[in-house]
Amino acid sequence: MKNVERQTDRGAAIKIENLGKSFGDFQALRNVTLTVAQGERIVICGPSGSGKSTLIRTINRLEQHQTGRIVVEGTELTNDLKGIEKIRSEVGMVFQHFNLFPHLTVLENCTLAPIWVRKLPREEAKETAMHFLRKVRIPEQAGKYPGQLSGGQQQRVAIARALCMRPRIMLFDEPTSALDPEMIKEVLDTIIGLANEGMTMVCVTHEMGFAQAVADRVVFMDGGQIVEENVPAAFFSSPRNERTKLFLSQILGQ
């Protein structure tokens, strides 16, 4: 209950109410309700096909919802294009497969949106980009192309690229699932660094250690629904739902 109070105190960053979405006959999301407070860090987990990626992608409208409503930073997501572009420039997203632009250098990847969307002068965009590249600890790679970097480096560039827009919310869609094991830590450390600065974030991940370390709340999804949500300590030590228990036992190998 303490949690709920804090949300109302600080105002909601994301408010999702009774969300529903289907792809043809497949019901990807049913009746999902979730509120994310300013500065809150949410980890969403669940088996594949549970709708967690779809849910996070509806927040910046890469997927359109069919029923229910989403309000992001006070703006409701509708078909109004202006509203969508405004929200997208305030919500950063990091993808499983990085999705860097291969024909642009690391620096250009980071300055593109600030220049074309935020209308920042070129020099200022460059300074911002270098600031965030230093933050993800790869300023020396600024002149290289994404294809010349390792997976972990690429994902850190992707994080820097999103941060260059100075977003108020960051969405991470399985940011470490496509990485070789030895590179997972460098990316998670970068995300933990961000979390410690108070960025609002929603992260879909299977990294339960990470969830335990940074999440304010863990949300477990299955079959397009939120099955259980709780603070990490309680979520991991005493899951209430059978499906949560099964999932945790599978993923933690217990």
Partner: protein, 362 residues
């Protein structure tokens, strides 16, 4: 057997000799290869000699007068030299030929200046528009120059103008068509598909004939564009439909994650296409684009069926001069060389673009 023999020689010979033998091995390594090599060398020597004999040794070159060719069994180059002005510029008024020549220089200079990727800025588009305006002024006259109607245009400038305008206007149209065909808007998509499939289903020749013969029957004179313009429109929409399909192939090969990432950053549809999708898609289809564009360069020669004087029709007109023996082989070789120079330099340019892209991304 032969292989072991050459190996034995290679082992006993010095290092220079050995590398020479290694290089010769593909040609003489086996009895079959050796036989093929000998036969091909003989054929090359035989036809090479015939060509040299005809084109140079027995050729009539100077002075550039009809008498030079009389009694010669070789090529009659003096005709090509004497008639080069007419072949290159067709029936363009001889006193104004400098204008047509300047147009060729202008177009080729602009093409060469646009070749380096570092020159590709928005301002280059303005340079092209300015070049096109100046070209039309020089060719057509007005504003201080004697007017020359399009019916008097001819030769290389016509070929260059048709090529550059048809591709220059057709390429942006092709981009819109290719994007339209992948659009989520049903009306846009249907119209794009309809246009592309209709044009692709028709031979270029029939398009040109429709533009030059049928349109005048339907349209009142006042609304009817010039014959040259009608042919240009036909070439342009033909180029647009074909280039659109080539581009669509490129667009389809870009993973959806690219546009998702761009849109997630707040870039709208057009900026996403322009900055992220098209640069990658176009680079992927450079070989196919090159092919289509080279075909288009040569397609411009079809305008002769609607009575425009491109290079080939100018050549044919020059050949009809009764004062000369009509050395058509020499004339068409000359014209063929011009086409080859255009198509080959474009192919080399495309090759350079492809390689520069590959190096960049490691």
């Amino acid at each position: 057997m032969a292989d072991t023999a050459s190996n034995t020689i290679a082992r006993t010979a010095g290092p220079d000799m050995r590398s020479l033998l290694r290089r010769l091995a593909p040609f003489f390594g086996t009895p079959l290869n050796a036989a093929l090599t000998v036969v091909l060398l003989w054929l090359m020597a035989r036809f090479g000699w015939l060509l040299l004999d005809w084109a140079v040794l027995k050729a009539a070159i100077f002075p550039a007068e009809p008498e030079t060719c009389v009694g010669k069994t070789g090529a009659c180059w003096s005709f090509v030299i004497a008639k080069s002005g007419q072949i290159l510029f067709g029936i363009y008024p001889p006193t104004e030929r400098w204008r047509a020549g300047l147009v060729c220089v202008l177009i080729i200079t602009t093409l060469v200046a646009s070749a380096r990727p570092s020159a590709w800025r928005p301002s280059l588009g303005l340079v092209w528009v300015a070049m096109m305006v100046v070209v039309l002024w020089l060719m057509g006259g007005g504003f201080g120059l004697a007017a020359v109607p399009t019916s008097s245009w001819g030769g290389l400038p016509v070929t260059l103008i048709l090529t550059v305008f048809a591709i220059g206007l057709g390429f942006p149209a092709a981009i819109l068509l290719a994007l339209g065909r992948r659009s989520n808007l049903p009306v846009v998509r249907t119209l794009s598909v309809l246009f592309i499939e209709t044009i692709r289903g028709l031979p270029l020749l029939s398009l040109l004939l429709v533009a030059s013969i049928l349109l005048p029957l339907f349209l009142p004179e006042a609304l009817l564009p010039d014959k040259f313009v009608r042919a240009l429109i036909a070439l342009t929409i033909f180029a647009a439909a074909y280039l659109a399909e080539v581009l669509r192939g490129g667009l389809q090969s870009i993973p959806s994650g690219q546009s998702e990432a761009a849109e997630a950053l707040g870039l709208g549809y057009w900026k996403t296409q322009r900055l992220i999708i098209l640069p990658q898609a176009i680079r992927i289809v450079i070989p196919a684009l090159t092919n289509t564009i080279i075909v288009m360069i040569k397609n411009t020669s079809l305008v002769l069926v609607v009575g425009l004087f491109d290079l080939i029709s100018s050549g044919k007109a020059a050949l009809s001069d009764p004062a000369w023996p009509a050395p058509s082989t020499e004339t068409f070789l000359f014209i063929g060389l011009i086409y080859f120079a255009l198509a080959f330099s474009f192919a080399r340019f495309a090759d350079f673009l492809e390689r520069s892209g590959a190096e960049k991304r490691g």
